[in-house]
């Protein structure tokens, strides 16, 4: 799969604040790529540089093979951008917005636009300023999907929306995934997990990892061990680097395995603890993985690059 988005050593500084510190990123074509990370990690900045709204301080990022600094009208006819922060022309009605945008896009599809308006229950004759936040987001998405973009970039689209609206948006995204690569930054990890095919974890201006969702969720496991007799946690030297957040309580030891493979993980447990009474391995939802990584990054200041 070729990359639709490719960032290389992307850096951005606002005065003394260094937001991006050499970001490397590849978004495969056809993927739904969820970009996650704690507040201030640089997600929105990355997307704005990608769209040529901001200029990078160093490095480069390209979309559809075009350097972000060169992104112009021709490229933008193939990219959709929806952001929670975007200032829409609120004096327009939904109908007017769609009619206004149509001539800008050679691939504009009236049937698709109508379908999206119906699907989202958008009132055509109501001004955007009189729509709820969720409806405005739907209008923005409809106006971005009606021309079958090759790439859709979404910045926190679900923020503050009720579950029904989220479901509508996700539904339409999934339907568009056949023809559109989607890059979406979000804090709504449950939603991201439900439809993203790839995940990138951004922290402190750097991409800590980027991989397929299936691979990510299969390699993260919460492991619980019952040891006999109760023992203190071994020293950090003996602790495998792929185990995070160790906790010990009486005979129970708990940690997160970040590279779970049944045989290898079991061997490691025996190497560290000797004989154990019980090993329990539980899959982790994306939210738990995110929290683990965020705490690990902020807590022990330990490099997560190996993850």
């Amino acid at each position: 799969m070729s990359a639709v988005i490719r960032a290389n050593q992307l850096a951005k500084r606002f005065g003394r604040l260094e937001v991006l510190k050499g970001l490397d990123l590849e978004v495969p074509e056809g993927s739904i790529f969820g970009l996650i990370g704690p507040n201030g990690a640089g997600k929105t900045t990355t997307l704005k540089i990608l769209m040529n709204i901001l200029k990078p301080t160093a490095g480069r990022i390209e979309a559809l093979g075009v350097d972000s600094l060169q992104i112009g009208p021709a490229t933008l006819t193939e990219i959709g951008y929806v952001s929670e922060n975007q200032e829409m022309p609120e004096w327009m009605t939904v109908e007017h917005l769609l009619r206004y945008l149509k001539p800008f896009y050679p691939a504009w599809d009236d049937a698709r636009a109508d379908e999206l308006v119906r699907q989202f229950n958008l009132p055509r004759d109501r001004k955007l300023r009189n729509l709820s936040r969720g409806m405005r987001m739907k209008a923005a998405l409809a106006s971005s999907l009606a021309y079958h973009p090759r790439l859709l970039v979404m910045d926190e689209p679900f923020s503050g929306l009720d579950p029904l609206v989220r479901e509508d948006l996700i539904q339409s995204l999934v339907e568009s995934a056949d023809e559109t690569t989607i890059l979406i930054s979000s804090h709504d990890l449950a939603e991201i997990e439900s439809f993203a095919s790839h995940i990138g974890y951004l922290e402190d201006g750097r991409l800590k990892f980027s991989e397929e969702m299936a691979s990510l969720t299969s390699r993260f496991r919460e492991v619980e061990i019952i040891v006999e007799p109760p023992a203190a946690l071994p020293g950090e030297r003996e602790w495998p680097k792929t185990w995070l957040q160790p906790q010990a309580s009486s005979a129970l030891v708990r940690f997160v395995e970040t590279h779970f493979e049944p045989n290898r993980t079991t061997d490691e447990i025996h190497r560290v603890f000797g004989d154990v009474q019980q090993i329990s391995v539980n899959p982790m939802p994306l939210r738990s993985i995110f929290i683990t990584l965020a705490r690990e990054g902020g807590g022990r200041a330990r490099s997560l690059a190996h993850l």
């Binding site: 769209m51 709204i53 112009g72 021709a74 933008l76 022309p89 004096w91 206004y100 800008f104 896009y105």
Partner: protein, 482 residues
């Protein structure tokens, strides 16, 4: 072009209320101008024309700012920046809008005003078009530029107020005569060209690349340059430029200027002969010779500086003094008075020094006369000028788009005097007043016919005079003697 038209139509729909308001104001202004003196007070003591002009300026500025901010350039949240706009189309749409809803209505209104006042329409067209273009460059380009550097109406208003204050303050502190008649057009043109040299690259940078930080830096640098120019451009430098522009005629003009102590007036001197007086008046009689028959010389400025025997200098800014006073072959002497500190005078009074004088003057000739019996209805007299009997039976004359660049005088009964202000030497066919008709009182009630005299400007001359062994004591005004 199709995209520009599409954006234009969107803006028309978006700003339809503001457009209607501006058009209504232009209509009201036209009605007021057509139905009387727009700057005269009505029975309620209100000056409707002045209010309407102010209202038009504010509303048209607001309209243009809103238009530009519909696709604001600075910022990172605008909807349009992630849409496939071509910058040339966007700029063309904005340009077209301003032409369509500010300039064209104004052009039509002014055209209607001129036509309904009975001025020759075809002859007025070049001036009207020029004036309209000048208004666009002078008043609209800065508004568009400031709007392109700001993201909302609040920041626009703040920036515009700061800019207005800074530039007005510079005018207030700069040489007072530089931006007044008759050479105002030179300083104004320099400022305009400088402003455009900054504004056009800013608009280009903003619309093509959205480089707001660079553009704002350029804008601040441009304002600094403008302020320096306002402070540095002097009336004398404008006159030098005016002479240089007409250097061929200036060099061939036979006019000569000398300082002749024998032409001192018998009794003269505004300053009383009081020992406590801090200043002493020195009279400098300027004698103009070789004035060809039928011509007269009007002084624009006299620059004088006195150099003492030990090399100290005293400069006298007489730019405004005597401006507009005339000499002819029959009356060739013009007195200029210098006021110097008593201490300086007392130390130098009998020591010979050098007096340097530069006389800037304009030679007028080719007299034309016309005698007319004035009516209450304005009648065309000469050079596109109309005169009539106005309120209180006063003689009034009016001109379209600019006051004639000829020297205008009127004679009737016992009265003789200039018509209107000093002529501007501007070569441009129109000025930028919203009201295209300049209407002025020129004299008291006539008992019969009046005679209008018009003289053409023939040459702008500068003559430098140097008088060695100049003793201040020999030129003390008679009022101070003793």
């Amino acid at each position: 072009m199709r995209e520009a038209w599409h954006i234009f139509k969107k803006d028309v729909r978006y700003l339809r209320l503001e457009i209607a308001f501006v058009l209504a104001i232009i209509t009201i202004f036209t009605w007021i101008v057509r139905n009387g003196n727009p700057y005269g007070t009505n029975v309620a003591g209100v000056i409707p024309g002045a209010w309407i002009v102010a209202l038009f300026s504010i509303t048209s500025t607001y309209l243009m700012a809103r238009l530009i901010h519909a696709e604001a350039i600075p910022g990172d949240k605008q909807f349009w920046v992630t849409r496939p706009y071509h910058w040339k189309s966007l700029f063309a749409a904005k340009f077209l809008f301003i032409i369509a809803f500010v300039n064209v209505p104004l052009l039509i209104a002014r055209f209607v005003t001129i036509a309904s006042a009975g001025f020759p329409i075809v002859a007025s067209l070049p001036g009207l078009l020029w004036s309209q273009a000048a208004m666009f460059l002078v008043s609209q380009i800065p508004v568009i530029t400031v709007a392109a550097l700001t993201s909302g109406i609040v920041s626009f208003i703040l920036s515009a107020l700061i800019l207005t204050f800074v530039v007005s303050n510079a005018f207030f502190r700069g040489p007072s005569d530089a931006f007044s008649f008759p050479t105002q057009w030179i300083g104004s043109s320099i400022l305009l060209v400088t402003m455009l040299a900054v504004a056009i690259p800013i608009l280009f940078l903003q619309y093509r690349d959205r480089r707001t930080r660079v553009s704002r830096t350029l804008g601040i640098a441009g304002v600094v340059v403008l302020i320096i120019l306002i402070l540095q451009i002097s009336y004398t430098s404008e006159l030098n430029a005016q002479v240089w522009l007409s250097r061929q005629l200036s060099q061939t003009s036979p006019i000569e200027v000398a300082i002749d102590s024998s032409r001192l007036p018998a009794v003269h001197g505004l300053v009383p002969p009081d020992p406590e007086t801090k200043f002493v008046e020195i009279d400098v009689p300027l004698v103009v010779s070789n004035i060809p028959a039928g011509q007269e010389v009007q002084f624009d400025a006299v620059a004088i500086w006195y150099e003492t025997a030990d090399g100290r200098q005293r400069h006298f800014d007489l730019a405004g003094l005597g401006r507009g006073s005339k000499v002819t072959a029959a009356e060739p002497v013009a007195q200029r008075a210098l006021y110097i500190e008593s201490s300086f005078f007392n130390s130098e009074r009998d020591r010979p020094g050098v007096l340097h004088t530069s006389v800037f003057a304009t030679v007028f000739g080719n007299l034309q006369e016309k005698t007319v019996q004035l009516q209450y209805e304005p009648m065309n007299v000469l050079r596109g000028m109309q005169c009539y009997k106005g309120s209180f039976e006063l003689v009034r004359c009016r001109s379209v788009l600019r006051w004639p660049r000829q020297l205008l005088e009127v004679r009737y009964d016992d009265y003789a005097g200039p018509i209107g202000p000093l002529p501007s030497y501007s070569p441009f066919p129109g000025e930028m007043n919203l009201n295209p008709i300049d209407d002025r009182v020129v004299g008291p009630t006539p008992s019969g016919a009046i005679t209008i005299e018009i003289r053409e400007p023939i040459a702008h001359v500068r003559r430098d005079v140097e008088v060695r062994n100049f003793r201040l004591a020999d030129f003390v005004a008679s009022g101070n003697r003793g």
